[in-house]
């Protein structure tokens, strides 16, 4: 079984984010970029499936600027076999929207015919949480989102989902789209020997035209603002007062 893992290049989670002066978005010029952490978890899970003999090949796909090659090389260094880059824009500030990404992935899936797509539940830059679901609709495949446990059982995937009320275990028919949550696994470090070997692994470069997809944005960003600064705290005199405030003012207990 082939596993396809889409990976997105996003601003590194350690970077102190700055809003651009014109409010059109976050300043990404000369900032450290990394693989979306949820996608890292998806890559790790795919590699583990291969190590267990469940998967035969792990293909990673990224859609965006040509620098996303670095993100793909990281996935190859972790252990993915092959990479596809769809160069969809030359501007680091252009975010390809979930629907365009889903359409492009649907195109890749038609060619590659994977048995399983493992994606991050959301990208930490725009927090859309939409690509996996849209892809499932476009393909007419089953989907399982927010996954914290995954087992492949013949033509079924048994997954545990993190839902508001707790954990839900469901069984979905393969091929399927699984979007992964934080607690699925702990991704490995790319090892130095594998980093050196990653250079020799194939990385194909495509364009949206190859899949007949128009990636022009449909959404308009009206304004971007920094989160409000933290307000000064208050001191309480006793535990009783703290509990009273939590109950009456904060309403959390």
């Amino acid at each position: 079984m082939k596993v396809l893992v889409p990976v997105k290049r996003v601003i590194d989670y350690n970077v102190k984010v700055r809003v651009k002066a014109d409010g059109s978005g976050v300043d990404l010029a000369n900032v450290k970029m990394s693989m979306n952490p949820f996608d890292e978890i998806a890559v790790e899970e795919a590699i583990r499936l291969k190590e267990k003999g469940v998967a035969t090949e792990v293909v990673v796909v990224s859609i965006g600027v040509k620098q996303a090659q670095e993100t793909l090389r990281t996935a190859l260094a972790m252990g993915a076999d092959r990479a596809i880059l769809i160069e969809a824009t030359a501007d680091v500030h252009t975010d390809i929207e979930p629907l365009a990404v889903a359409k492009l992935l649907a195109g890749v899936i038609k060619e590659e015919a994977p048995g399983l797509v493992l994606a991050g539940k959301q990208a930490i830059d725009n927090d859309m949480n939409a690509t996996g679901q849209m892809l499932s609709a476009l393909l007419g495949w089953s989907q399982a989102t927010f996954v914290s446990e995954l087992a492949i059982d013949g033509d079924k995937a048994v997954v545990t989902r993190e839902v508001d009320g707790g954990l839900q275990t469901i069984s979905v028919k393969m091929p399927t789209i699984v979007t992964v949550d934080l607690r699925l696994n702990e991704p490995r470090y790319a090892s130095l020997p594998n980093i050196m070997k990653a250079k020799a692994k194939p990385l194909a470069i495509k364009t949206p035209a190859d899949y007949g997809v128009d990636v022009a944005p449909r959404l308009t960003v009206v304004k971007t603002t920094e989160p409000a600064g933290r307000k000064a705290g208050v001191k309480v005199a006793s535990v009783e007062e703290l509990i009273a405030k939590l109950k009456d003012e904060a309403g959390v207990i």
Binding site: R73, A77, Y189, L192, P193, I195, M196
Partner: protein
């Protein structure tokens, strides 16, 4: 000329940094405060470092290393160098290159267990009476049939407590040179437990808590000639051809710590307010930061250039000495100024600055003192003129 890092080099930096920050930093304070690195902790981190392919990554691919070019190797060293020395040196060990000089049998017996993390190596040159002037050493080996008999004392020998063996440089003769009589030197592998070979605890020093050095004593210690590394009387040549790059390794680890200290200084200067404003707005502070950043960059460029020339086969002794000298002196300056910018807080061990400052001190002494580096550089300038 190209100054950027390749994609792989950037990935090496990122992977090594992530490991250092996640696996080494959390243990620093305990090691610093106790002055001790427990064996169980070493084994635990070592296992992860081996899994991450970071262990012994300085070695060529054919013996299980990462097969890095010199610049890539030094970028990895720089990231490791950010952490407490005992932690990175022991848990993510880089066996000495000189082990590659051994014959097939010696590689199997000494190099491979170091790469697999089963033991550690150590190198014994310095003696109480011979530091910078190695060819004035007194510890000696005398041939007796197929055997060699070792006598004398070595001190300041790093990591000998953990090491399974020591590579010992012993005087095996004397020759006349234009600069007076000099010892001929031969290198030997000496296993722990060999009769006549004793290891004693060394001194406690100001730098690198959790790390130890020891004293080696040889009292009619008898070795078979199979224990010779390289050729008889060629120990100095073996050391020169395999250990030259250790100066670049020292330079790189210093750059890592200097960068860490500078990072702390910048963010503190941007956050700390006195007299109603961020202290970074006072020129007294901001100009310090400018000088620290500039000096650090100068040191880094010297190191990178030497690394590049090393792979081109054009590096000179002076190139490597300049890199070591500059990086170690810049670290001392940056660490000192970073503390100054932090005021009293800079001295407290909640921050890594006081130890970066302490640790900086040894770097200007080992692997050739600053004076010896200046001697090497000036010799290259003056020798062509017969001075």
């Amino acid at each position: 000329m190209h100054f950027g890092l390749t994609e792989e080099q950037q990935m090496i930096v990122d992977a090594t940094r992530a490991f250092v920050e996640n696996e080494l930093f959390p243990h620093e304070l305990a090691v610093e405060r106790s002055g001790h690195l427990p064996l169980e902790l070493i084994k635990e981190i070592q296992k992860k470092a081996i899994a991450a392919g970071l262990y012994a990554a300085n070695m060529p691919a054919e013996v299980g290393g990462a097969g890095l070019d010199t610049l890539s190797w030094l970028l990895y060293e720089k990231e490791l160098g950010r952490a407490n020395y005992a932690l990175h040196w022991t848990c993510v060990a880089r066996p000495s290159n000189i082990l590659l000089a051994g014959n097939a049998e010696q590689r199997e017996q000494y190099l491979m267990p170091c790469i697999r993390g089963e033991t550690w190596d150590c190198l014994a040159m310095t003696e109480p009476g011979a530091g910078s002037d190695l060819r004035g050493m007194k510890a000696s080996a005398r041939q007796d049939g197929d055997d060699w008999v070792l006598n004398g004392t070595k001190h300041f020998i790093s990591h000998v407590d953990l090491a399974g063996f020591a590579i010992c440089f012993m005087a095996t003769g004397e020759e006349d040179t234009p600069r007076g009589p000099k010892k001929k030197i031969t290198a030997f592998f000496v296993d722990k437990g060999t009769k006549g070979f004793t290891v004693r605890d060394g001194y406690r020093n100001v730098s690198h808590r959790g790390y130890t050095n020891g004293i080696l004593e040889f009292d009619d210690c008898r070795l078979n000639k199979r224990q010779i590394l390289g050729e008889v009387h060629k120990g100095f040549e073996v050391a020169n051809s395999w250990l030259g790059a250790t100066r670049l390794q020292v330079a790189s680890t210093c750059l890592g710590r200097a960068e860490r200290a500078l990072g702390h200084a910048i963010s503190y200067a941007a956050e700390r307010k006195q007299f109603g404003q961020q202290i970074g707005k006072f020129q007294g502070i901001s100009f310090k930061l400018a000088d620290m950043a500039m000096e650090l960059k100068a040191a880094e460029l010297l190191t990178r250039e030497a690394a590049w020339k090393y792979d081109q086969g054009t590096v000179t002794e002076a190139d490597m000495s300049m890199a070591k000298l500059k990086a170690t002196e810049v670290l001392a300056m940056v660490a000192d100024e970073a503390i100054q910018i932090h005021g009293g807080m800079g001295l407290m061990d909640e921050l890594p600055l006081e130890r970066i400052w302490r640790d900086a001190r040894v770097e200007r002494i080992w692997e050739g003192t600053s004076e010896i580096q200046r001697h090497i550089i000036s010799r290259e300038l003056l020798r062509p003129y017969g001075a």
